[in-house]
């Protein structure tokens, strides 16, 4: 239960590559913070900086108010679960889990108890005598987690611990890790490139791109109010649709002009966007905010447009439809499966004009 602070942390490698730039992050006690971003965005490097596996080029990291820049990994009292699990192949599961306790000189009886308790918690008691090579991928992942929780560390660092599991196990392990976090009440810092893991597990999510922190917020806020085009496009699958657009005023009405599309803006938004009239903007709308007018739910603010269907992906509970405007601009919609759109057909779809995003084209920042 610690408070971790990244203060203007920069990591530059010897070859000049800047992996993390001016990272400021304040991670509270008991928090489950997820670092998410595409590969190479600096999320793993940030975690390794915190673990002490990389040296910090600039800035400071504090664990519970103590500056840890020069501390070795073992002085930081943190546990880490690696993407590859990194189990010690020549030791049994018990030995793997007891390794850190043995190094601390924990008495034998206590060591036995703690390993046993952790193994029970993870359901791997009957595996304690086995060697890592005799375990399945899911079991190895549990042992790797077990090795971390035995220590009762101040914080858990996890580097894509689920990426080597198959899809079904991953869903299960996700829920288990969330439960574990609730039970232990310890700070978790979790790195993933999978936005589903981020959304489902994080109490807060930090989105990174190109070594720069884009936004930190709760999953819902991040999804509903992305700060910029990158966050808007990264969170959510299928990704948000973007259109180059401008705001145009006609009388006392406001329109978003995106190519051939002319979308009216609801009354309550008008004052907010007044200042951005005639500047180049990006209009964003999520695929789930596009409806088939026939099955549109109440409470939305629909505006119908015409588009041509190019591809239909039937998912069972929904249809993902690739649509093209008259000017060729493509976008996706998640619509009701009863729609039965067919490729080549020209259809009418409704944009929910209550739920859209506008970004400045130059800075890619959201308009406020």
């Amino acid at each position: 239960m610690v408070h971790i602070v990244f203060e203007q942390v920069t990591k530059q490698y010897d070859n000049g590559f800047i992996a993390v730039k001016d990272l400021n992050l304040d991670i509270g006690e008991d928090e489950f913070l997820v670092l998410v971003g595409p590969s190479g965005c600096g999320k793993t490097t940030s975690l390794r900086l915190l673990a002490g596996l990389e040296t910090i080029s600039q800035g400071n990291i504090y664990i519970d108010g103590k500056r840890v820049n020069e501390m070795s990994p073992r002085e930081r009292d943190i546990a880490m679960v690696f993407q590859s699990y990194a189990l010690y192949p020549h030791m049994s599961v018990f030995e793997n889990m007891a390794f850190s306790l043995r190094l601390q000189g924990t008495p034998k009886a206590e060591m036995q108890n703690r390993v046993q308790a952790a193994a029970t918690q993870l359901g791997i008691e009957e595996l304690l005598d086995r060697k890592p090579k005799q375990l399945s991928g899911g079991q190895r992942q549990r042992v790797a987690v077990g090795r971390a929780i035995v220590r009762d560390p101040a914080a858990f660092l996890m580097d894509e611990p689920l990426s080597n599991l198959d899809a079904k196990l991953r869903v299960q392990a996700r829920a288990e890790l969330s439960k574990l976090h609730k039970k232990l009440g310890t700070t978790f810092i979790y790195v993933t490139h999978d936005q589903v893991e981020a959304m489902t597990m994080g109490s807060r999510i930090a989105v990174m791109n190109g070594g720069i922190l884009q936004q930190v917020d709760t999953p819902q806020n991040l999804y509903d109010h992305p700060n910029n085009v990158f966050v808007a496009g990264f969170m959510g699958s299928p990704a948000m649709n973007f259109f180059k657009a401008t705001l145009q005023s006609e009388g006392d009405e406001l329109f978003i002009q995106a190519g051939a599309l002319r979308l009216p803006i609801a009354g309550e938004w008008r004052s907010r966007y007044q200042a951005h009239i005639d500047t180049p903007l990006i209009f964003g709308i999520r695929p789930e905010n596009i409806y088939n007018p026939k099955f549109a739910p109440p409470g939305i603010h629909p505006f119908d447009i015409e588009a041509t269907v190019s591809v239909v992906e039937m998912m069972g509970h929904e249809e993902i439809v690739y649509l093209a405007l008259a000017d060729g601009h493509e976008f996706l919609a998640r619509i009701d499966p009863r729609s039965r759109f067919t490729p080549g057909e020209t259809v009418r779809v409704s944009f929910d004009m209550n739920r859209f995003h506008l970004f400045d084209q130059a800075s890619e920042h959201v308009l406020v």
């Binding site: 673990a51 002490g52 596996l53 070795s72 990994p73 073992r74 943190i78 546990a79 880490m80 690696f82 993407q83 590859s84 699990y85 990194a86 189990l87 010690y88 192949p89 020549h90 390794f99 850190s100 190094l103 601390q104 060697k131 890592p132 090579k133 005799q134 375990l135 399945s136 991928g137 899911g138 190895r140 992942q141 090795r147 220590r151 080597n164 599991l165």
Partner: protein
């Protein structure tokens, strides 16, 4: 972990399948058997000769023992007894062990420590140091004999076991460090990092993780170094001098040849005694040459 495809049951093989199998394997088998025969035949001759009477050895070749009827009386252990007791081979055998064991253990220890440091510790000049060590591999050992001997004379180390140990250690280290650094460098980085996060110091990482996982490389180097020291004549001759009290097996064998090139019965027995230990060492270390030591460590 490599999974071989499940072999088909013998019933599933047709006659032609089996013919094909035999024919494809035949050249390999032929070459392997030929090499084995070429290697074994003289050794077998040596072994048989070492048990024969000195007179019979001069009169006829070793293969004549197979002319029927097979007479067990023509074999005896006298040659061995004579060589061990009379010719000082027993003492030489002990000397060889006294020289070889520390001269194998010392370079292994030093080389493993050095290899870990060169592979996993960050310090300035690490690469340069490694290149220099690899460079030492090409220095001919004969070039060092005179300067080292002069230094030994000044230090009073010539003619002592310590001198030979140190010399062999020095000669073995470049290869040892090179081999082990390359092996230890290929251990998964995550494993070392996991141990560091688990609270292990460099020494603990070395003893608990790196050494157990490096046994195949260490065993290979141990066999190399042991054989090289055991079979060495030059280094022993130069640094030990003609002192018979400390002479190893190789020196005594050479003296046997030199003094009486005609005493075949002693030479063959002596040669066999000198061969036993390397064979034992090789078979004893055989079990460390295992593959798949890292299985289960990383990835699923």
């Amino acid at each position: 972990m490599t999974l071989l495809p499940e072999p088909r049951s013998p019933q599933a093989l047709t006659f032609m399948d089996r013919v094909e199998q035999v024919l494809t394997a035949a050249p390999v088998h032929f070459v392997v058997i030929a090499i084995a025969v070429i290697w074994t035949l003289p050794t077998a001759g040596l072994l048989i000769s070492s048990f024969r009477q000195p007179d019979a050895l001069i009169e006829s070749g070793w293969w004549t023992v197979f002319t029927p009827p097979l007479n067990l009386d023509q074999f005896h252990l006298g040659n061995y007894a004579d060589v061990l007791a009379g010719q000082g081979m027993g003492q030489a055998f002990l000397n060889s062990l006294i020289i070889t064991i520390p001269a194998t253990v010392m370079p292994i220890e030093i080389a493993t420590f050095a290899a870990y440091a060169l592979a996993w510790m960050r310090f300035p000049g690490r690469q340069l140091l490694f290149v220099l060590i690899v460079g030492l591999l090409v220095v001919p050992l004969q070039m060092t004999l005179i300067p080292v001997l002069r230094a030994y004379n000044a230090l009073g180390l010539s003619g002592t076991f310590l001198g030979v140990w140190l010399a062999h250690t020095g000669y073995g280290l470049p290869l040892g460090i090179y081999l082990l650094r390359n092996y230890i460098g290929t251990l998964p980085r995550n494993l070392i990092e996991a141990a560091a996060v688990d609270g292990a110091s460099h020494l603990k990482i070395f003893t608990r993780i790196v050494v157990p996982l490096s046994t195949p490389a260490i065993a290979s180097f141990a066999v190399f170094q042991f054989l090289w020291v055991w079979n060495d004549l030059l280094v022993a001759l130069v640094y030990l001098g003609g002192n018979q009290n400390v002479a190893p097996v190789t020196l005594v064998l050479r003296n046997l040849v030199g003094d009486r090139g005609q005493d075949w019965h002693l030479l063959t027995a002596g040669a066999f005694i000198s061969m036993i230990v390397p064979l034992l060492v090789f078979f004893a270390l055989q079990r460390y040459f295992v593959r798949g030591l890292l299985a289960g460590s990383i990835k699923g």
